[in-house]
């Protein structure tokens, strides 16, 4: 199966501090990959490097077959990115915000208004489309962000903490979008989150970052077998995660 994301010994240092340490990771196309780890573990830095917004200190990465450092434009054309708390132009309406992003992507023509309306309908914002984004709630912003990401028909989407600060209903909707993107549209979804039971529900595989190191990666069941030594349905991702968290980063050989 073709790989959507591939990194090899990807490293980012800020001065003496190592934000991401020799990250080697592969995500096949169409997979939903949950990226876990405590705050400051280097998840966002990894995402920024994969997008070409931040230059790695060493190592290589390939997203959809392109090098984000050398060919960032090509990567950005194929990848949708939803930052941790996505920003919009507050004075503009939802439609205006999406139109601007469409223009930045070179999408134009008569079909654009219909496409934007279709996306707004998908995320349930059609009624609020002509209101200023300044008046949107957090959940609505997050959904507008999803519409914005889908606007460019991406092959891969990066979602940074998409469920952070959402109410239960909003969280459920967000998870439905993630599953929808992955299962129905065949988009590779790479998302980070703290809500472990939800990650467990939607992800095919997970990766766990601790202090810049990827300490585990694989299907949840396999990680459970390795860490907990159980082979039944009675395990939670939370137990596995806490086990890794307590053990910390293994000493480098």
């Amino acid at each position: 199966m073709a790989l959507a994301i591939e990194t090899h010994e990807l490293t980012k240092r800020y001065g003496t501090q190592v934000a991401v340490n020799r990250l080697t990771l592969q995500v096949p196309q169409g997979e939903i990959f949950g990226f876990l780890g405590p705050n400051g573990a280097g998840k966002t830095t990894t995402l920024l490097m994969l997008l070409g917004l931040s230059e790695p200190t060493s190592g290589t990465a390939r997203v959809c077959g392109h090098d984000p450092t050398r060919d960032p434009l090509q990567v950005k054309r194929l990848v949708g990115y939803l930052p941790e708390s996505v920003g919009f132009y507050e004075d503009m309406t939802g439609i205006q915000n999406l139109t601007y992003v469409a223009r930045l992507n070179g999408i134009r023509g008569d079909g654009l208004p219909r496409k934007i309306e279709g996306l707004l309908e998908q995320v349930g914002l059609l009624g609020e489309a002509r209101k200023r984004v300044g008046a949107y709630s957090r959940g609505m912003r997050q959904r507008l962000g999803i519409a914005e990401v889908l606007l460019k028909d991406p092959q891969v989407v990066f979602l940074d903490e998409p469920t952070l600060g959402l109410d239960p209903d909003g969280t459920q909707k967000m998870l439905d979008f993630i599953v929808g993107m992955g299962r129905e549209k065949g988009i590779t979804v790479f998302f980070s989150s703290h809500l472990l039971d939800q990650v467990q529900r939607v992800s095919d595989r997970v990766g766990i970052m601790l202090k810049g190191n990827l300490v585990a990666a694989g299907p949840i069941q396999e990680l459970a077998k390795q860490k907990l030594g159980v082979d039944q349905e009675r395990y939670t991702l939370e137990e596995i995660y806490m086990r890794y968290f307590r053990e910390g980063v293994p000493a480098q050989s």
Binding site: Y81, G87, R103, L104
Partner: protein, 320 residues
């Protein structure tokens, strides 16, 4: 290219719909109208009884009415236009977290800063053109004198130089918005620079002249020393873009002025001959006098934007 065009279009829309640029334009228009009217009606009285007045039209821009001439007004308050348009160009996007979103779209990174600068420059050009045309219109009404080609040419050069000059302040304020995270900080920083160039530079020039080429004390005033002193003063003073611009436009708008120096030593015979042959210079000759000024003005604008560009391209993008 679609990226640059999209950013340019959006910024231009913002400039023309935002409350602050509308307020700014209103204030400037009002001042322009009032000055033009004052100067215009004053001029008419002066010109009464004169057989064949020439180059009257340019006097609309240069002659001081009750307070100041329009050229002085632009030299002094033009920087404010540039500042208001640029002081929050980048840091507002950063604060609203739209910068990382903007940069994760498939556009070249410099499309953002180029688009913002070009949109600001276009806004400035439109504002200035409106003011100059407005004043010319009032001039036509009040004076009843039609401008000749020579005068139209001078006004065009004046317009161009003014756009570049305000463009310098725009670039400076965008630079501050790249360097400082806080919008208030960046506004204050540009304001401080403006005050420094507008007020302290002239003071500093005089001080520097007295230190480097002191005037001899006592009664022995020798011409050499006075000239030397004035030369140093004017060199230091032209380090300020405001002086640079005032001197350049002073010559461009006034065909009778033949030098930017304020102090010229000459004997009685020279004075006599100059007063006899007081004829206007052609536009090309006027431009030649201030060619160094014009080139320096363009150069500092380009350099300032270049620094701004380099800083922006090197900056780390973090969502937080």
């Amino acid at each position: 290219m679609h990226g640059l065009w999209a950013v340019y279009r959006k910024e231009l829309e913002d400039h023309f719909s935002s409350t602050r640029s509308i307020l700014l334009l209103t204030v400037i228009m009002m001042v322009g109208l009032v000055t033009a009217y004052m100067v215009g009606s004053g001029l008419r009285k002066e010109l009464e009884g004169m057989a064949k007045p020439s180059l009257v039209f340019l006097l609309l821009f240069t002659s001081t009415g009750a307070l100041f001439s329009l050229a002085q007004f632009i030299a002094f308050f033009g920087p404010l236009i540039g500042m208001v348009l640029g002081f929050d160009a980048i840091n507002r996007e950063r604060a609203a977290r739209t910068l990382s979103k903007l940069l994760s779209q498939p556009i070249y990174r410099d499309a953002v800063i180029n688009g913002k600068f070009l949109a600001g420059l276009t806004t400035i050009a439109i504002m200035l053109l409106a003011i100059v045309v407005l004043i010319s219109g009032i001039g036509l009404l009040v004076l009843g004198v039609v401008p000749g080609w020579e005068e139209i040419g001078r006004m065009a050069v004046y317009l161009l130089v003014s756009i570049v000059y305000i463009g310098f302040w725009l670039a400076l304020s965008i630079l501050c918005s790249v360097l400082f995270r806080g919008m208030a900080t960046s506004a204050l920083a540009t304001l401080a620079l403006w005050i420094f160039f507008a007020f302290f530079m002239a003071l500093g020039a005089r001080l520097a002249a007295d230190v480097i080429a002191p005037l001899p004390s006592g009664s022995s005033m020798n011409a050499e020393a006075v000239l030397q002193n004035d030369k140093v003063r004017s060199i230091v003073a032209t380090l300020s873009p405001i002086t640079l611009y005032s001197e350049a436009t002073g010559i461009v708008l006034d065909p009778l002025r033949k030098t930017t120096r304020s102090l010229v030593l000459m004997g009685p015979m020279e004075q006599l001959s100059i007063s006899r042959f007081q004829s206007p210079l052609p536009l090309f000759q006027s431009a030649l006098i201030v060619a160094p000024h014009l080139v320096s003005l363009v150069a500092i604008t380009v350099v300032c934007f270049g620094i701004c560009y380099a800083c922006f391209m090197r900056q780390e993008v973090r969502s937080t």
